[in-house]
């Protein structure tokens, strides 16, 4: 199979950008820990927290390095991660892309959506309906002046506008939307998009 030049460059950008992962921890995590009891649970919780923390810092970190950092055996780390994945605590791993360097046409819209909750279904049914659109990267129910915060990625401005006008606004329960376009990213998922050069350190000090 020939992926061509674009793929290679894209891969490079992905590689440069670093990785993060998405975790949906709340309930699954609690259930996960409820299984055994006593100190063991506490220890497991501490170790799982530590593994999740390392995955969030760099999901590509070699598992052998993780084992050394946490003073565990390689197999223990691997099986803990497998368990986190199987339990649906770790939902996936993604790259953080610097959009000023790659695919600069792409737009991100942050959309406030006010909706009328349904009798019986509340916000859930309508929110999941909105979330199912491929353009929607993230969808949160929030407190405050509006109900859903929807983050949309589109190939260009026209596509983003079309999504809001034709798909989102036309849903019956949607009362109002306010769309904000991303102009520049400073920090994303804990990662800075512009790096300050490292300050100088002495090479040996007491």
């Amino acid at each position: 199979m020939d992926f061509g030049e674009g793929f290679e460059a894209g891969f490079f950008a992905v590689f440069l950008a670093g990785f993060f992962f998405v975790a949906g921890m709340e309930k699954a995590y609690a259930d996960f820990l409820r299984l055994p009891s006593g100190d063991w649970v506490f220890m497991m919780g501490v170790l799982m927290d530590a593994i999740i923390d390392l995955l969030q810092q760099n999901a590509l970190m070699p598992r052998a390095d993780m084992a050394r950092l946490l003073d565990m055996e390689l197999e223990e780390v691997e099986s803990a991660i497998a368990k986190l994945e199987a339990e649906g605590i770790v939902l996936g791993y993604q790259a953080i892309i610097n959009r000023e360097k790659w695919d600069t046409e792409k737009v991100t819209a942050i959309i406030e959506v006010k909706i009328t909750p349904e009798r019986g279904g509340g916000f859930d049914r309508i929110a999941s309906r909105i979330a199912k659109f491929e353009e929607v990267q993230s969808c949160y129910l929030v407190s405050g002046g509006y109900d859903l915060l929807v983050i949309v990625e589109a190939a260009n401005l026209r596509n983003a506008a079309a999504f809001v006008a034709e798909k989102l606004s036309t849903i019956e329960a949607v009362q109002a939307t306010a769309t904000h376009f991303r102009l520049k990213t400073y920090k994303e998922n804990g990662t800075f998009h512009q790096f300050d050069s490292a300050p100088e350190r002495l090479s040996v000090s007491p």
């Binding site: 390095d65 050394r68 950092l69 946490l70 002495l202 090479s203 040996v204 007491p206």
Partner: protein, 387 residues
């Protein structure tokens, strides 16, 4: 005319670390595990508070003892973390780093010829500071088999009628040694019986690992009245360049130290003092995050060193490991030089921390994981070659 340097200054040898530093400076692409300071920048909330203080024009002198608000913060912090109570107005002095506070305490306490004991291997400045204060520095060797902790019987043996004070630093630079409260009680007993003043340099106390709590000799019965509790913000809060330290001690001693401080220094810089208030009052989480990172790197480096055949204790504090390298058949200096020139990795020869550091090198893990990892790979190759 040739200028004659005072004898007691002339006779102080140059720091072994400085010699080594100058060699490393001439080389490119060296990974340094020789750095005794955090690789983190000061947490942003602390820097931001200092910027705000500057914007408001807080740029003047402060009280000689330090900003009253900072001294209250210190009193609260020391009470909360160490269970020690000091009166902010008369028992706390803010200094330019712990180093200055050590110098003040020694100069305030010593008459020429008074002996000061310290445990070795240790931080490079203790013996020279004692000498500069016209005291006589006497080392007590600590041993790897004791985890480099100080034994009460070794202390007892070293005390003479001229012994005035004992200098302590746990967790220890360079060994990472720590002491338990049971060990402290035995040391405290010797100090009380021989009427010793204790200078406790607690600079690494927040960097105590494995969920352990730091214990200080100042909390032992009969010790508060004879202890100078010395601490600062450099290591735990990653604030080395701000130069803020403090001494807590009975009022008459603080008053004596203040006399020297006011004429020599006047006061610690206000920018550092303002930053220190923010750090002490709201820095716990930042410290915990950095400690967690150090702890993981410690696990990593300890295992890597043992795996390559260098016997290395897992330190319970500080950000240093002090592996034994004598199995390579090299001296500390040869090991460090050959590792540096052949493999571009800088570690500090154990002898920089006193003759009893021979057979060891100090590796700091206050360096990014990627660098530690590469350094360990290179070091393993080097150690393999010596076999």
């Amino acid at each position: 005319m040739s200028i004659r340097i005072a004898d007691h200054v002339r006779d102080i040898p140059r720091s072994g670390i400085r010699d080594f530093f100058e060699i490393v400076q001439t080389m490119d692409d060296v990974i340094s595990l020789g750095i005794g300071e955090p690789d983190f920048a000061t947490p942003w909330h602390i820097r931001e508070a200092a910027i705000y203080a500057l914007e408001r024009g807080r740029t003047g002198y402060t009280s000689n003892l330090g900003l009253p608000r900072l001294r209250r913060s210190i009193a609260d912090y020391v009470r909360k973390k160490f269970g020690l109570r000091y009166e902010p107005l008369s028992e706390i002095l803010v200094s330019v780093g712990v180093s200055e506070a050590i110098d003040l305490a020694l100069r305030a306490l010593l008459n020429p010829g008074d002996e000061v004991l310290y445990h070795e291997p240790c931080y490079v400045s203790y013996a020279p500071s004692i000498t500069l204060a016209r005291g006589v520095a006497r080392a007590i060797e600590t041993k790897a088999e004791d985890g480099f902790s100080l034994r009460a019987d070794a202390l007892e043996k070293a005390v003479t009628p001229r012994t005035k004070a004992l200098m302590l630093n746990f967790p220890t630079n360079p060994t990472g040694a720590t002491m338990t409260s049971a060990q402290w009680e035995k040391i405290a007993d010797v100090c009380v019986r021989h009427d010793l003043v204790v200078l406790a340099d607690e600079i690494y106390s927040e960097l105590t690992f494995d969920g352990g709590t730091h214990s200080t000799i100042a909390a032992c019965p009969g010790m508060r009245e004879r202890t100078v509790f010395l601490h600062g913000l450099s290591k735990a809060f990653a604030m080395t360049g701000w130069r803020v330290g403090y001494a807590c001690a009975p009022a008459p001693l603080i008053e004596a130290m203040m006399k020297i401080h006011q004429y020599a220094i006047l006061c610690a810089p206000i920018m550092g003092q303002d930053a220190a208030i923010e750090a002490l009052e709201r820095g716990d989480e930042s410290v915990a995050n950095m400690r967690r990172e150090y702890e993981r790197r410690r696990n990593f480096i300890t295992r890597a060193l043992n795996d390559m055949g260098l016997e290395c204790l897992k330190p319970r504090g500080s950000f240093y490991v002090f592996p034994r390298i004598s199995s390579t058949g090299l001296t500390s200096r040869e090991f460090s030089m050959r590792l540096l020139h052949g493999h571009n990795v800088a570690v500090v020869p154990g002898t920089a921390f006193g003759p009893s550091g021979e057979g060891h090198v100090r590796c700091s893990f206050a360096t990014g994981l990627d660098q530690i990892k590469t350094a360990m790979e290179r070091m393993a190759v080097f150690v393999g070659q010596t076999r």
